[in-house]
Point group: C2
């Protein structure tokens, strides 16, 4: 690992501290280095709060002058909720800037780098670019596709079923996998399921660690069937629940849900009278959600994949064979020639299960 | 790795050279070591030929005296096709014997070790025992279960189908996986499929490398439906084809198949009139087959797993989603509580696919 990479790795670590809190802004970390020593660090703490570069410059004080700035995303050059970072960088006397990746926001998109260069500050771009893109894939997705990044999680038997014929599914995967899933929820702005799963499991969809950020719990509930007794609309985190509905009726129930603190978002219907998923995702992006961890069930998974609204697929394969059961993607039927293609990462074992992760190509 | 393990590893490597040729005997390798140098090596070349120990002693000549013998399986102590190895070991002046694992054959089963000890030769047992058991799992299976070891191979989409709704399956997995499957065929005494796969693919089931041992090609063909035009009964390896039938008719066709050099083995029928798979496997063990690599299809896989006649499951998971298709285990329906349990090994990526391997527990 080069020195550049070493400091950028630190900037990326710092960026993670803002995870969840900064959306719909990106997570960003910044490190100021002088004579091979860190003289200032910062990260974007919260939507609306100062950017990482400003935090690092403040942290360094007069040591900022003559230092090199490592920042995980291109500095901004426009007035948003805060003044442009480029100005502060130039004013602080920073001698050189190293950027992991370009900010695709049309208001920046290389302009921040150009402004720094125009001010006589040398800029390098592309150090740990892949990791930097990965850590803001939600922010990038909203800019590029006008919808959040969607990861779909499946727990499958070795022969590919999400539940047995009786519908039982909760214990397909082993305890370590279930803990890992709960930990992952924290890496997304929202966790999402359909009403089938609500009725079957009455889940709470909370992360393992509830000391900090709690992701939104998004329920696709076309005609607002959610019973008031369910955990998602009655537990202490009910303000973190979003019901996405496509019905134009049930005004009274919507009012009652809102009175509880539950969010109800109205979105378009498709020709079948169900939620138009693409429109729903755009509505959620407008709400400030940049990334979604979808935990099923089969209806939601089938609809999402049919409309190519999934970016990553995570499959936990349990060491169990049942022969027949409920399939993962309801309603999808493709020939092998027209199969939806993935690209697998390296697989790992988690507990008794195998964990497969792939991106849709 | 200890010195003991180092020499035993060599013995296990030598054992592999006999793979295929020695069945129904085990593969065995032997190394003679004196003053930290190999003075003799040998392996069991062929069923009926001298045992590994004898080969190593001959190879060492007078250097055998005073050496340590590393042998991957307990030396025999009875007259079979060859005289007992224990006698030859004692006569050669070997000073010490290191054994990887005990020969479970009731005629040996510790008696070889006892005989050596009685002759005043110290014996250690258990060096690389797991690998030694693994390399003769077919031989062990026949002794313990009276049937060959059965590995079932599946090529699945990410959502668990062996073929799309049109029945198309040949190109689910990628080229490197298919080559790996062909290479694996060489590690088994036989490759096995059902007639569904014969009609669909007209496969030849040959290993990638055809310079040496060619595994038997076992076809489960209840009523002898095999057409004479199929590769399995018309190519240059047709003497390596075994048709397992349960019909008591079709004497004429059986005669014709045999005239071609094709083996036809009659076995029991079950209450449905199909092949009694357990009986068929025992019949194959009697024929000299100790290990089988089963490549499907769904009917055979379903029947084997229902009767718990599978020892290892290999799953190649392709990076493809199709939604609906043909399931892996036809006719099996278990609830999650009564699921057939596996134990996964570490997964690996092969080409674009993920390769999962598990043993049935």
């Amino acid at each position: 690992m080069s020195m550049h990479e070493k400091w950028m790795k630190r900037a990326l670590e710092l960026a993670e501290k803002g995870r969840g809190w900064t959306s719909p802004n990106p997570v960003v970390g910044a490190v100021l280095v002088k004579e091979d020593r860190i003289v200032g660090e910062g990260y974007h703490h919260l939507f609306g709060a100062p950017h990482a570069e400003i935090e690092a410059i403040r942290n360094a004080g007069e040591n900022a002058a003559g230092s090199t700035l490592y920042v995980s995303l291109e500095p901004c050059c426009y007035f948003g909720k805060t003044p442009p970072c480029v100005e502060a960088i130039v004013r602080s006397g920073i001698r050189e800037v190293v950027v992991a990746t370009i900010d695709p926001n049309p208001k920046v998109n290389g302009e921040g780098i150009r402004a720094l260069k125009n001010a006589g500050i040398p800029v390098s771009v592309g150090i740990l670019e892949e990791q930097a893109n990965e850590c803001n894939r939600g922010f990038f997705s909203v800019i590029r596709k006008n919808r959040p990044w969607v990861t779909l999680k499946l727990g499958l038997t070795a022969d590919g079923f999400i539940a047995d014929v009786t519908g039982k599914s909760q214990w397909i995967t082993s305890e370590p996998s279930r803990v890992y899933v709960k930990e992952q929820r924290l890496k997304y702005d929202a966790v999402m399921i359909g009403m089938g799963t609500v009725f079957k499991d009455d889940p709470s969809l909370l992360p393992e660690n509830r000391m900090g950020f709690i992701p939104y719990r998004v329920i696709l509930d076309d005609v607002l069937n959610m019973p008031f007794r369910m955990k998602l609309v009655s537990d202490e985190y009910k303000q973190r629940t979003i019901l996405v509905v496509s019905t134009s009726e049930k005004d009274e129930k919507i009012k009652q849900m809102k009175a509880l603190g539950v969010h109800v978002i109205q979105t378009e219907r498709n020709e079948l009278g169900w939620i138009n998923l693409k429109a729903a995702l755009t509505t959620l992006a407008d709400f400030g959600i940049t990334s979604i961890f979808c935990e099923g069930g089969g209806q939601v998974a089938g609809s999402l994949v049919s409309e190519r609204l999934i970016d990553e697929l995570q499959v936990f394969v349990a060491p169990k064979v049942i022969g027949t059961g409920i399939i993962a993607f309801s309603g999808l039927m493709k020939s092998l020639d027209e199969a939806i293609q993935l690209k697998w990462n390296e697989p790992v074992k988690i507990g008794e299960d195998i964990f497969l992760k792939g991106t849709l190509v």
